[in-house]
Structure formats: structure tokens, C-alpha cells
């Protein structure tokens, strides 16, 4: 026979106001197995906890029921107290008589008291069948894989590496830097990006704890928190960078001309190219997709670059390779892409040459960029005298485009318009906007200064269309502040396109087993309290992969992620709660329904036995498999079906 103690808490008058605690204790003492029962004004207080500890020690209790508030409040408190005097913490259960009893029946004391006794009895039945459990320890590999080498990945990697942990960065482009490398200057202080980024890129490449995989992607991710195995596929560059002297002869000889993505189509590049053609520190690579050598039916067998290379550094026969890395944590810093301008035909996106996107405008502003920092119309190379900036191009349009606000556009548009006006003194900058969202330090002042010093003319209203009339480019819009339609003659139109998750995110999240929202942005475990953790333990988020952000916020989040991982790595092993699912091997038929049901990827099929296995490190004890299992072979430890039915029986009998 078990010896169980019942402790009824008054919670001041929260419980005692509508439950007669004397009667509850008397009722509890009549129940089978109860050898001790008492009440106290605040069980969670130090003297309250001491009463529990004393009773466990003196009466040699082997089970405890605390009738009090929700287990979410103080289950841990009481379990710790029980553990401190030698009772297995999992032999203590909470009977919730506050949220589920006293608070909902304030006006009927006898009935509330009877219900409280029922709840105590049910919990008593449950605890008498509880098993003593030990916490689970999990091995921890203190290495990190950062997916994405943009500013988020770089900053997270540097922080972790500086803390002494090995970090690998997987970047699918031939160079790190991401979209940040395309941007000219920052807001709100007009600082040149290259000043910031060059330094950070050099630190990454020189860091003894960082390994960078360029032109690479994640092929597979196996394992679980603390014990991941990442398979990395590296695409061939076809240029042996160990031998390449960066003489540039191959660049001159390549017969291919395709739009240069890095310059957003403002320039053209060959099939052999530098990612940023104006950055001569970068070594050339060959893009398989564009190269004639790999495209039959054109000039099959083109090998002009290989012929001209004085170092024989070009190997058109190179093949992709895979590598495996063991890591304990993964950072998803996969960034964003811009919404395609072709989706905005009413603005002439992708059709009218003098309608460019904001990233192309950034390339023009870059002093080391294709125009040497001069703002010139793509159609004729003239200096535009009238520029219309269109904000929310694709954002805040739930019906046709993206419902969300892309967040950085208000500020970079103000920055671009100001830089334009500083460069073209007799020019006019119009900004079409819906709201000006300038909600960070010095942001509002930055926008105001643009109106004050650069005379930016903000026009509230969405542009209806951009069209060509003869030689003129016209913007039809409305000024909703004065209620009038407007027609503006523009030399150049700049679209502040919506940000969307980087291409390929849906394939990647399947491999990483993390969840995304309807727009494809990675979802965090909790928006307020776990903002950098993904739904999968050990996989963290940073930057625009989670939602559109500016550089300031991206870096803050990347450093938060790095901090979170360091907290995890501060322990030698990981500890997991033992309240998880288990499989009754004699009942499991190996149907696999639980594997599909598990939201955490904690279930796998044992290939040899044909029985589903629970990964103890990954299982969160949610119970989805228990509900799904057609054979009732899954059980949650200490919340078994048998236990729960007995609780229900207790209630039903008294009702």
C-alpha cells in the first residue's frame, strides 16, 4: 500500500474563498492510500514547501498530491522540494483546484469543495501509478553549422567562433556577404557597407574556428539536438582556385553574355564570372547553367576559357562533392530574395527599362559598382531629373501579392532618395507611400531630414500604373491627402520590392524539419519568449529567413542566436524531460502513422525490428502519437491511458 500525502493550498482567498479547505483535507484523509493531509495558506511559500518536505521525511511518503494552482505555475517548485528530501520528483502531482475549480465556482462553496475532493481523488489515483523517473542526458557536439553566409550568418558565426566553438558556414553563392554585399550604404548614418562588410568577411576567412563551404548547399540533415549530421553538397566551380592567379583572361574570352544577377541586370556577364565583377579580390567561377560547354545543341565543346588559361586552372570535368559534418546546433540564416518585378506588370516591372528595383538602384549608388556610384538611366545613360520611388511594391497587398510589410523599404527608400538628391541637385525625388514606418532610433529624424534638406516630396497613395507615352515615362497616382489624382513625369522609377524568403526555402525546410508560415518565412518556437529557436530543438533562426528585417535587426537577432547556442554549449551534456512517449513493442505493428504524425520528427522506424522508436532527445511529450496510434501501442510515460481513464472514472463516479 502506498503512503500518499495530500497538501491543500488556500492560495490566500483564491482557493479558500470558495473551497472549504478543512473539508477538503477531511475528504482527502478518507481516500485510500492517504496517510497524511494538511492545508496551508500558501504552499508555494518557503514554510509551505517545508511542510511538504517535513511530511515526506517524517511519514515516509512515497507519493504527493499538491492541490493548488495550475501545474504550469508551481509543478517545478514542488517537484524540486520533493526531490530535495529524497522523493522522486515524478511521484509528485498537482491537483489543479484553482483555475479548474475555485475560480470558476466562486458562488457555490459546497459544490466547489466536492469538486476539489474529486480532483484530488483523481490525481491521487494517477500519482499512485506514477513511475519514478530520471532525467535523460544527451550527448552534445559543440560545433555549429550556419546555413547562409549573409550578414546574419557571418555575425552569428564570428560570435560563436570567438567563443571557441568550431563553426561551418554553408553558402550557395561563390562568395559570402549575401545581399548586404550588393548594398551601397546603410541608414540612418550613410556609412559605406564595404567598410563594415570587408572587415567581417576577412575575419571569417582568417578565423581558425570557421570553415566556409562556398557554392554549397545542405543536402541532408540527420540526427537531433546536440547530435546533427549535415551532408553538404558542393557544386564544382570548374576553376581551381589553388592555381588561379586571377589574371582575368578567361573573363575576356567567354562568348556568353547573360544578365548579371549581382548587378540586378544592369550589366552582363559571361558564363565564367566573378560574383561581383567589380571586386577583383574574388576569383572567377564557371556557372554550369550558362556555360556553352555544358549545353548541347549550341557550341558543344566550347572550351575557350580552358584554352586561354595560362595556369591550366580550368577543369571543365570537375564534379560535385559531398562532405559530412557533425554539429550540435544549426543556424538557419538563409535570408531573402526580392519579389520578382515581373509580378508587377502595371508598374512596367521587367518590361520598361527605366523602371528598376531598389537593389539595382543600390548597385548604381555603389562607388565601386557598375556606374561608379552615378545614378544613370539604364535606357540612355542620362542623369534622371525626376525619380519616382514606389514603396510597398508587392508588399501590403493581401489580395494580389504579399500581405506583410517588408519593413526595411521605408528607410532604404528615404536613404536612396536622399542620396539621389545629394547627387543630382536640380533633380526631384517623389516617394509614393502608404505609411512611413520609421520606428527605430534616428529613423524618423532621418526621414524628416530628407524632407527638410533634400526636399523629398512624399505622396501618400499607391501608384496605379507606370506607363510610357511617347518618349515619356509617366506615373499615375493619387495624393490621398488632398484627394486628387496625379500624373508625374518621371525619368526613372524605382520599385521598393517586397522581400520574400530565399528561393528553395521549401525544399530546405523539409530537410531541416523546421516549420514555415504561409509566406515561407521560418517560424520561431514562440514569438515573445523563444524568438530565435525554431520548432525543432537545436535549429535556430537568424535574419530575414524568419521575417523581413534591416541590417540592424538582422545582426541583433544573429547575435541573440549565437548567445542562445553558447548557453546550450555551456553544459557538457543536454538534459531532457523524461515525460515522453514510449512504444509498447509487443503491440506496435510498425504501421508508421506515428512517424508522420510527430511534429518534432522524434519517431523513426527500426528497420530490423519493424517497430517504431522514440528519439528521447527530440520527443516533447505532446501526445500526438498516442492519439494517432491505431493499436494503442504508444503511451505517454506517467500519463498512460490507464491512468487517465481512472481519473475520468473517479470524476464520473462522484458526479
Amino acid at each position: 500500500m502506498k503512503k500518499i500525502g495530500v497538501f491543500v493550498c488556500w492560495c490566500g482567498s483564491n482557493i479558500a474563498g470558495s473551497v472549504d479547505v478543512d473539508q477538503a483535507v477531511a475528504g482527502a484523509l478518507k481516500l485510500d492510500g492517504v496517510t497524511h493531509a494538511e492545508h496551508y495558506v500558501y504552499m508555494c511559500s518557503d514554510p509551505g514547501q517545508q511542510k511538504i518536505k517535513d511530511a515526506i521525511a517524517e511519514k515516509k511518503l512515497d507519493g504527493v498530491v499538491v492541490a493548488c494552482c495550475s501545474p504550469r505555475m508551481h509543478e517545478n517548485t514542488f517537484r524540486k522540494a520533493a526531490g530535495s528530501v529524497g522523493l522522486n520528483p515524478y511521484l509528485l502531482e498537482i491537483a489543479n483546484i484553482r483555475e479548474q475549480c475555485s475560480w470558476v465556482h466562486p458562488d457555490n462553496k459546497p459544490a466547489a469543495t466536492a469538486k476539489a475532493i474529486s480532483i484530488i481523488e483523481g490525481t491521487l489515483d494517477k500519482v499512485s501509478q506514477n513511475l519514478p523517473l530520471e532525467t535523460i542526458t544527451i550527448n552534445l557536439t559543440k560545433r555549429v553549422c550556419v546555413v547562409g553566409g549573409g550578414i546574419a550568418g557571418i555575425m552569428a558565426a564570428l560570435d560563436l567562433a570567438d567563443a571557441g566553438y568550431d563553426v561551418i558556414i554553408i553558402e550557395r553563392e561563390p562568395a559570402i556577404g549575401g545581399h548586404t554585399a550588393q548594398i551601397s550604404t546603410t541608414f540612418p548614418y550613410f556609412q559605406e557597407i564595404s567598410e563594415l562588410l570587408d572587415k567581417k568577411r576577412a575575419q571569417v576567412h582568417e578565423h581558425p574556428h570557421i570553415t566556409v563551404y562556398l557554392s554549397s548547399e545542405v543536402e541532408a540533415l540527420e540526427g537531433y539536438v546536440g547530435n546533427f549530421k549535415v551532408t553538404i553538397r558542393t557544386q564544382p566551380r570548374f576553376v581551381d582556385h589553388a592555381n588561379c592567379t586571377n589574371c582575368g583572361k578567361c573573363l575576356d574570352v567567354c562568348p556568353v553574355l547573360v544578365p548579371d544577377e549581382f548587378n540586378r541586370g544592369l550589366t552582363r556577364r559571361g558564363a565564367v564570372f566573378r560574383l561581383n565583377r567589380d571586386d577583383e579580390r574574388q576569383l572567377p567561377v564557371i556557372g554550369r547553367r550558362d556555360c556553352l560547354h555544358f549545353n548541347e545543341g549550341t557550341k558543344d565543346g566550347c572550351g575557350l576559357c580552358a584554352d586561354v588559361c595560362p595556369e591550366a586552372a580550368i577543369d571543365l570535368g570537375a564534379i560535385s562533392s559531398t562532405q559530412e559534418e557533425s554539429v550540435g546546433a544549426v543556424v538557419m540564416a538563409t535570408g531573402y530574395d526580392l519579389y520578382s518585378p515581373a509580378n508587377l506588370p502595371e508598374y512596367g516591372g521587367g518590361k520598361i527599362p527605366d523602371v528598376v528595383d531598389a537593389m539595382a538602384f543600390e548597385r548604381m549608388l555603389d562607388p565601386k559598382g557598375p556606374t561608379g556610384g552615378k545614378i544613370l538611366r539604364p535606357s540612355d545613360g542620362e542623369v534622371p531629373k525626376s525619380v519616382v520611388f514606389i514603396q510597398c511594391a508587392g508588399s501590403r497587398d493581401p489580395e494580389r501579392h504579399k500581405a506583410y510589410c517588408s519593413r526595411a523599404c521605408c528607410m532604404y527608400t528615404a536613404k536612396q532618395a536622399r542620396l539621389y538628391r545629394q547627387q543630382v541637385e536640380d533633380g526631384t525625388a517623389y516617394i509614393s507611400y502608404m505609411d512611413i514606418r520609421s520606428d527605430s532610433r534616428d529613423f524618423e529624424e532621418f526621414v524628416q531630414k530628407g524632407m527638410e534638406e533634400e526636399h523629398l516630396l512624399y505622396i501618400r497613395g499607391r501608384v496605379a500604373k507606370v506607363f510610357e507615352e511617347g518618349d515619356l515615362l509617366k506615373v499615375l497616382t493619387a495624393d490621398t491627402l488632398s484627394g486628387h489624382a496625379l500624373e508625374i513625369e518621371a525619368d526613372l522609377v524605382v520599385l521598393a520590392l517586397a522581400m520574400e524568403p530565399a528561393s528553395g526555402i521549401h525544399d530546405l525546410v523539409k530537410k531541416m524539419n523546421v516549420t514555415v508560415d504561409g509566406d515561407g518565412f521560418l517560424t520561431e518556437a514562440h514569438i515573445k519568449l523563444y524568438p530565435v529557436e525554431s520548432s525543432t530543438k537545436g535549429v535556430f533562426l537568424a535574419g530575414c529567413a524568419q521575417s523581413p528585417k534591416d541590417i540592424t535587426d538582422t545582426v541583433s537577432q544573429a547575435l541573440a542566436t549565437a548567445g542562445k547556442i553558447q548557453t546550450m554549449f555551456a553544459n557538457e551534456t543536454l538534459i531532457a524531460d523524461p515525460l515522453i512517449a514510449e512504444v509498447q513493442t509487443d503491440i506496435c505493428s510498425g504501421c508508421g502513422i506515428c512517424i508522420e504524425t510527430c511534429p518534432y520528427g522524434a519517431r523513426v522506424m527500426n528497420e530490423y525490428t519493424g517497430i517504431s522508436v522514440v528519439n528521447q532527445a527530440v520527443c516533447q511529450g505532446c501526445g500526438a502519437c498516442v492519439a494517432a496510434c491505431p493499436n494503442k501501442a504508444c503511451e505517454l510515460i506517467n500519463s498512460t491511458t490507464k491512468q487517465l481513464f481512472r481519473v475520468i472514472d473517479d470524476f464520473a463516479r462522484r458526479a
Binding site: 488632398s482 496625379l486 513625369e489
Partner: protein, 182 residues
Amino acid sequence: MKVNLLKTDDSLLRRIMNESGQPVNLCFQCRKCSAGCPMIDEFDFPPNMVMRMIQLGRREELLASKAIWMCVSCETCGARCPNGIEIAPVMDCLRAECLEEGVIPADKTAVGLHTAFTDNVKVFGRLHEATMLMLFKLRDKKISKDDIELGVKLLLRGKIPLLPRRSKDLQKIRELFKDSGR
């Protein structure tokens, strides 16, 4: 609804900012000026809209508006504007442009009073209410028995002086008028 297609033109904005010395381009339409304007009921466009119309170059509508003549220059708006725009001098500039350009004003009475006022100052160097009001009423041919009775009452009580008092330096006042081209 008729849609007016307008071309934006910032020449009016630049000119008004230059002449009035006011940062009209900073107006972000918070409408605090209009909220506190004691004459708002007499305006066809509230002060915030006047600022917007200047920004967008809607000159013809503005010069023909009632608003620019109904402003009594109480300067409540300017005292409250978060961007430090004094609207009264802006209104003065618009009135001047209206008269210079020969635009027929929306409210002739206001213009008449305005003209009678400045003409009076031009003659005496300072305002003499009796002659100004007499000339203003006579010009409009709207003088009534009530007006005369009220005038006599005010004179008898000494509220308005019978004879004008000239400015000590009339010459300087006239030079000011000359300098401004009137």
C-alpha cells in the same frame, strides 16, 4: 466623380518657401493647424490642405481660393505646428501672388478690406479706422443706416479718433511701400 489629372510642379513650393521663409515642404499633414483654426468654418480649404496644395503645385486653385483671404493671421496654427511652419506669412505670400497675377479672388469683400487697410496706411503712415471703414463701405456701396449709427456712437465714445494721427516718419512708411512695388 471627376478626376483632375494634375502634373506635380514644385516651382510654387520653392517660390513660397523662399518668399515666406517657411519650411512648407516639412508639412506631414498632422492637421493640428486646422484643428485649432478659429476661421476654419469660413475656409474652403483647411490650412493643412493649403500646405499640401503648395507642395503639389496646385497654384490656380489656391490663388482663387477663399482660404487665403479668410485667414486673420491670428498665428494659432504657427504657434502649434510641430514642424515650425508659420502659416500666416505663407497666406500673405499667396495673397500677394493672387493680386499680382490679377486672379479674381474668391472673396471680394475680404480683398476690399485688405486693400482699404493698406491704402489707409499708405496715406497716413498708420491706420485711421474712421476713414478706412468709410472708404471701404463706400467702395462696396454697402453703407447702411446701421453702419452710420454705429460709427457715430463709436466716435462719440472716443473709441475711434475723429482725426487721423500721422506716423512720425511717414516718409519711411512710403518708402517701404515703394520698395515692395506698391
